[in-house]
């Protein structure tokens, strides 16, 4: 097939995609009632449009890196298309989070419009009518699947990318989408959040909120399993996996936010800023969010444990003492074990964070106040939910894909990424190895790093890359034209060594003469 037929076939699939989108929005007008065939036709044409376009985009080309025109294309280089998609996505998120009634959601009575359009699917999966969150979950999962297929075609030469993408598609479809829905169908009486056991604090920041804890405690064996699994994830499974494989085991293999970034966001990964100033901003922001969610969670637990209906049998005092001991031990272990690996500003931040958290716990314990620092846990959590959960991770995180890149939330906001990243930086076998002296400073690795890491600045010095923010997507290694970068796990010692100059020069041997 020559270039021109391929072009017209691609236009055909673009039109199909648009038809799917219009069908989806149709029930918002009064022109049609939400009918099953419209839903089916919409989801089908959307999927066929994206997958067909991708297939004809790449089918004529040999397997390999497909970045021609990325920085001249209007969509991927912040042109008119990029801005338009950004505005549309942002508008969608604002509607979803703050004006769901515009989508047809009704808090009382049956929903209408776009939300009602998803009723048949919702009935099929969980036996109940759709909510705006079901609509969102369906579209979110569909996006990961169809753009996942696109990614698989694009990177069909790389087994690492194929397996990793298969993994994010599997976890999104199976664990995040289908499983909770099907469990609802099987156990309609147990609360939803008793069944959501891919849950992991602090990404799922509501894990320790009273309603969520009660959901799990009241959810029978399933709920207790979810609670146990959640706690095990935080304190046992995650540290072990992060030690062995780096934070990538979660961020680019399992996580739903990561899944969307790696698939639908792939066209925008190159838009992340690599400036040193932005790196500084990133380190401040993400750790401030981490402190915020930690304090919010402590406040929530404090008030929960103080309520007369506390079902756990753990008193506030026992909890506070345990938390103080836990944080003190953790801080001491890091300080005495890894202090030398941290720069002055990181040490300062570490001690600062420790003092704030332990200090507030102590004040709380001795004052016995009902609220953390006089602010009600309800207020704190409301602000976190609005500012971080909705505005940051949703509106800014995904809405701004075409403007700021695909991992804005993961890089600047995700408290989970902060924790995993900190461990990855100080106690993990993971690193990106630089291949001796082969780097030619071309800049492809840095340009395509979705996390904004200036990969080249390490590679050209012959130094390995050990960075908190690296999610291990492996694209730097793919786009490197000289085979310089390899993601791998190995001994923790000497990971971060910095040679005086890259491998290849023997001049030292002559110095001795």
């Amino acid at each position: 097939m020559n270039r021109f037929t391929s072009l017209s076939v691609k236009s055909l699939f673009t039109v199909l995609g648009w038809i799917g989108l219009i069908l989806l929005l149709l029930p918002l007008s009064n022109l049609s009632s939400p009918e099953t065939w419209i839903l089916l036709a919409s989801l089908a044409t959307l999927s066929i449009g994206v997958v067909g376009y991708a297939y004809f985009q790449y089918r004529g080309e040999l397997p390999g890196i497909k970045n021609n025109g990325v920085f001249t294309n209007s969509l991927s280089a912040r042109g008119v298309w990029g801005w338009s998609v950004g505005v549309l996505l942002t508008a969608f998120y604002i509607t979803l989070y703050f004006y769901p009634e515009w989508l047809g959601y009704r808090s009382e009575g049956a929903s209408v419009g776009m939300v009602a359009l998803f009723d048949p699917l919702s009935q099929l999966l969980n036996g109940q009518p759709a909510s705006q969150w079901f609509l969102y979950g369906t579209l979110y999962t569909l996006a990961i699947l169809v753009f996942g297929v696109k990614f698989l075609i694009k990177y069909r030469h790389s087994r690492y990318q194929i397996i990793r993408t298969g993994s994010v598609m599997f976890f999104q479809l199976g664990f995040a989408f289908l499983l909770p829905e099907l469990l609802t169908l099987l156990h309609p009486d147990t609360p939803y959040f008793a069944k959501d056991f891919k849950n992991m604090w602090p990404l799922n920041y509501y894990f320790f909120e009273d309603w969520h804890v009660k959901n799990m405690l009241n959810g029978g064996s399933l709920g207790l399993f979810t609670l146990g699994m959640g706690l095990a994830m935080i304190f046992i499974i995650s540290p072990i996996l992060t030690y062995r494989y780096g934070k990538r085991w979660y961020c680019s293999w399992v996580c739903g936010c990561g899944a969307l970034a790696e698939t639908a966001g792939d066209s925008f990964r190159q838009l992340s800023s690599k400036k040193i100033s932005v790196w500084k901003l990133e380190r401040w922001m993400i750790h401030v969010v981490l402190v915020f969610i930690t304090l919010t969670t402590l406040a929530v637990l404090w008030s929960f444990l103080g309520s007369p209906k506390n079902p756990t049998g753990i008193s506030r005092e026992i909890f506070s003492y345990s938390a103080i001991v836990f944080f003190s031990l953790l801080l001491a272990a890091i300080w005495f074990g890894k202090r030398n690996e941290l720069h002055a500003d990181a040490r300062f931040a570490l001690v600062g964070i420790g003092v704030i958290i332990i200090g507030i716990l102590c004040i709380q314990l001795f004052s016995g106040d009902r609220h953390l620092l006089g602010i009600s846990s309800y207020t704190l959590r409301k602000w976190y939910g609005f500012g971080i959960g909705a505005a940051f991770s949703g509106v800014l995180g995904v809405g701004f894909y075409p403007l700021l890149g695909s991992r804005v939330w993961c890089r600047f906001g995700c408290p989970m990424a902060a924790i995993l990243g900190f461990q990855q930086r100080i106690l993990s076998r993971f690193r990106i190895t630089t291949n001796g002296g082969q780097c030619i400073s071309c800049g492809n690795c840095s340009a395509y790093c979705e996390m904004g890491i200036d990969v080249r600045s390490y590679a050209q010095k012959g130094q390995n890359i050990v960075r908190s923010s690296c999610v291990g997507c492996g694209i730097c290694s793919e786009v490197c034209p000289r085979g310089v970068l390899k993601l791998e796990n190995g001994p923790v010692a000497n990971r971060t060594d910095r040679p005086d100059y890259p491998l290849g020069n023997l001049m030292d041997h002559l110095d001795a003469q």
């Binding site: 291949n435 002296g437 071309c442 800049g443």
Partner: protein, 431 residues
């Protein structure tokens, strides 16, 4: 403050920039880095990706602009026209002179031209400088068909660039295979086939006879040594490069093809040095050429001279040869010595090729001792550190094959072909 005349480095490519950076690590002496081409250091090898839209030009600059100020390295964009070694001054095109304490020439290369009729026409160029890239971009809308002359690394890069923008590319190669001067037959054949697969009109055993122009002086076609006429709106001349030293030919600096230097990278004049593409070793390192115009040797010369200029006189001693390239989708790495036509009593060669995929591994080893001499690898990434050590120790090819997985650098989950490769080798050499 240090008021002594600065170290002047002419040329801010990888050699000059490495020198400046490495000196700054050890010394506070004033450094002036002069370039006619661009105020900031950029990766020349990455220019192709700018044309292809993989990168913007800014991406090819490894350091943000505040880096230079922070490290107190003064930059100057200006053409240097000559120098006076007695007065220790360099001359700028504007007529100014600048005093130097030490002077380092790191002025790189220029594309070769062989006096082809029509080579001065519009839409005819070599590809080397940033200005060449800008020129190509400006001509690009006029180009539907392009002819590239010269079967080496820049030629295939230019072919890939033009092809990525939808231009029809005809690639003239004088020899019977692409990059014949460097690659053994089967290695080159793999690339010939890959070039054709990408839809490039590869014409082997074909030389450029002349370039035809229209009445306005635009290139509009070429005539080949076979008498064929090929219509085109652009001719890329990529038949190698030579040291960029024409402006120094009348000076007292000893030059041959390049600026002649001893092993300490010193020229015949006091306080004057030369590094990178423009330097020619009077006594080349054993087994190496006197001019090696590649990124890595430029970097190593910069590292070495920095020691000398910081009071530790150090001879240029590169380790085992290594290089890499990417030919469309095929990655290539080479380590040590792999001759294109080995002498039977000095170098034995053996290769393994995947029946379908673009993977080929060629081992060079001593015919008697089987000591590993070098490796060419297509489609398998090789771990530099391991190969470097193997080549410096007396590792046999058998030991290398046995431990081959340790020497690979492919991404995780990539298929390991060692069992097949080792079995094939044993089959051939076990008796």
């Amino acid at each position: 403050m240090n008021d002594s005349p600065p170290l002047i480095i002419v040329g801010n490519g990888i050699a000059g920039t490495t020198l400046a950076r490495q000196i700054r690590k050890k010394s506070t002496r004033p450094i002036l880095l002069i370039s006619e081409e661009h105020p900031y250091f950029f990766s020349r090898t990455a220019l192709m990706y700018v044309y292809m839209g993989h990168l913007t030009f800014e991406h090819t600059q490894p350091y943000e602009s505040h880096f230079w100020k922070k490290n107190n390295i003064t930059l100057l964009q200006e053409r240097v026209t000559g120098f006076d070694p007695q007065k220790k001054e360099v001359f700028l095109a504007k007529g100014e002179t600048l005093a130097y304490g030490d002077l380092v020439w790191a002025v790189g290369s220029r594309p070769n031209r062989f006096g082809w009729p029509g080579e001065q026409a519009r839409r005819v160029q070599g590809l080397y400088h940033k200005q060449d890239l800008d020129q190509l971009e400006a001509w690009s809308p006029e180009i539907k068909e392009a002819v590239i002359v010269g079967g080496g690394l820049i030629g295939i890069e230019l072919a890939e660039m033009l092809h990525s923008r939808g231009k029809k590319v005809c690639f003239l190669v004088r020899e019977n295979s692409f990059w014949k001067s460097v690659l053994p037959t089967e290695d080159a054949a793999l690339l010939n086939q890959h070039i054709l697969q990408h839809g490039i009109d590869l014409r082997l055993n074909t030389e450029l006879e002349r370039i035809e122009t229209d009445e306005k002086g635009n290139a509009m076609g070429v005539v080949t040594s076979k008498g064929e006429r090929i219509q085109c709106q652009y001719v890329g001349l990529t038949a190698g490069v030579h040291p960029n030293i024409d402006f120094l030919k009348d000076s007292t600096l000893n030059c041959n093809r390049g600026i002649l230097v001893n092993r300490f990278l010193e020229t015949n004049l006091p306080n004057v040095y030369a590094i990178g593409d423009c330097a020619e070793q009077k006594e080349p390192v054993a087994g190496r050429r006197s001019i090696e115009a590649v990124w890595y040797t430029g970097r190593m010369m910069g590292e070495t001279l920095a020691q000398t200029l910081c009071e530790t006189k150090t001879a240029y001693q590169p380790g085992p040869w290594f290089n890499s390239a990417k030919f469309f989708d095929i990655e290539y790495q080479t380590y040590g010595q792999v001759s294109s036509t080995p002498k039977p009593d000095e170098e034995n060669q053996w290769f393994w090729q995947h029946p379908q995929k673009n993977i080929l591994l060629r081992w060079a080893f001593h015919p008697d001792t089987h000591r590993l001499m070098g490796i060419n690898s297509f489609g398998i990434r090789i771990r530099h550190e391991v190969m470097h050590d193997w080549l410096l120790s007396d590792t046999t090819v058998e030991t290398a094959l046995e431990n081959f997985p340790a020497a690979t650098f492919d991404p995780e989950f990539t298929q390991n072909y060692q069992p097949e490769i080792q079995a094939a080798f044993q089959h051939q050499f076990s008796h």
